[in-house]
Amino acid sequence: MAVEVSNNHKQQKATERTPRILVFACKWCGLIGADGAGRKREPLPPNFRVIPVECVGSVEPDAVIRAFADGMDGVIVMGCHLGGCRFNDANHAAFKRLELLRALLEGVGIGRDRLLVTFGTAHEGHQFTDVLRNFTNLIAKKESLDTSWTSSRARMI
């Protein structure tokens, strides 16, 4: 996933104003929703990348931290509705874990709202668009996270 990008990346970043957002989408709901949004030609902000995962339960909080460390301004984790997970209660476990991570992010000054955990079903392409648009607006008001905090060379986008 990590790609080495040379200095033209930095120049590009200086000009771009839109925040960079990473979406972890569960293969059974979030990803199909994202697919549906694309198929319906919903107008989407161009600043996000989707990483398909088998289940949100497999999204390590470390991966979310790593995304912030690699210069993401916001991270969305999309799973199935509570009670509708393919893997019994895995989304519950993931939400609890990520809620704890949100407490840590708030503590360290990044802000808990930079990590969004949402639930949807496969047919809710419109919800995907809404969530992404609202989240982009929210993050755009904040300053970029890509300051001297991040010293890692590897970039994800």
Partner: protein, 285 residues
Amino acid sequence: MKTQQAMIDQAKSLLKKLLEDGEATAVFGLARGMGGVTAPRIFTMPDELDSLVLEPKWPLAKPAMEILRTAPGGYRLAVVCRGCDERALVELIKRNQVDADALVMVGVACSGEQASICLCDRPYPSKLDIGEAAHGVDPFDDPGVKYLLEGDTHTRMGRWERVLKRCVKCYGCRNSCPICVCDPCKLEGEPWVRRGIIPTEILSFHLIRAFHLADTCVACGACQEACPAGIPLVTLQHAMRRALREGFEYEAGLDVNEKTPVLFDFIQAPEKDRPIPDWINTLRD
């Protein structure tokens, strides 16, 4: 210090009895050796206990675990535990790192002075054998903790950045932590933190380290004491400990049978009618 001497005498008689009765093969505690140097020591003979001391605070949970790992069968180690040592050992028992049958915990209360240094809200073990329990200190009353944890996120991010930039990546926080036992460690692996590269990748190194201890940290302060750069690492944990207490009514290290709520006790699962707490829906804020 009269009370201190009385506590030491009480501890000596109690531990001597443990050794003489054969309840413990050895006692692990602090000893003032030659030249007035205080260091941890394994006492095997009752006479040796004359050099036992209780001060200063020295986290004994990790060395106790290392001793028990290599100990032969039937070995029983009595450990002189402060509140934080006891909670750390309970967490290690939960994770099958320490055999509970091979361990005798002798609880020692901390002084109020020590509690205010450590910002400890529970400066006594659950099974108190020696001394009297002092009052705990609420860490969120401390100006240093308030400075880093309360207020506008933007200013706090700058403060944290200044603090964490001092890191020299010595891995002291990880090595001293009584509960950091994973092998291999994620802080040494290529996809997460690159080894041997300075300056530290602040966010990935410190947040991954902090988060791995999210539901386990007993706030003993060993990481902070080990840090050569003086980074207030426990303050990071206080934020998560508060979230655990408020969201799950859970605190690490209190009960051997209580499992971490982050992996167990699913909220919706057995009872369908129980409402999902507000904090779970991050769409609302």
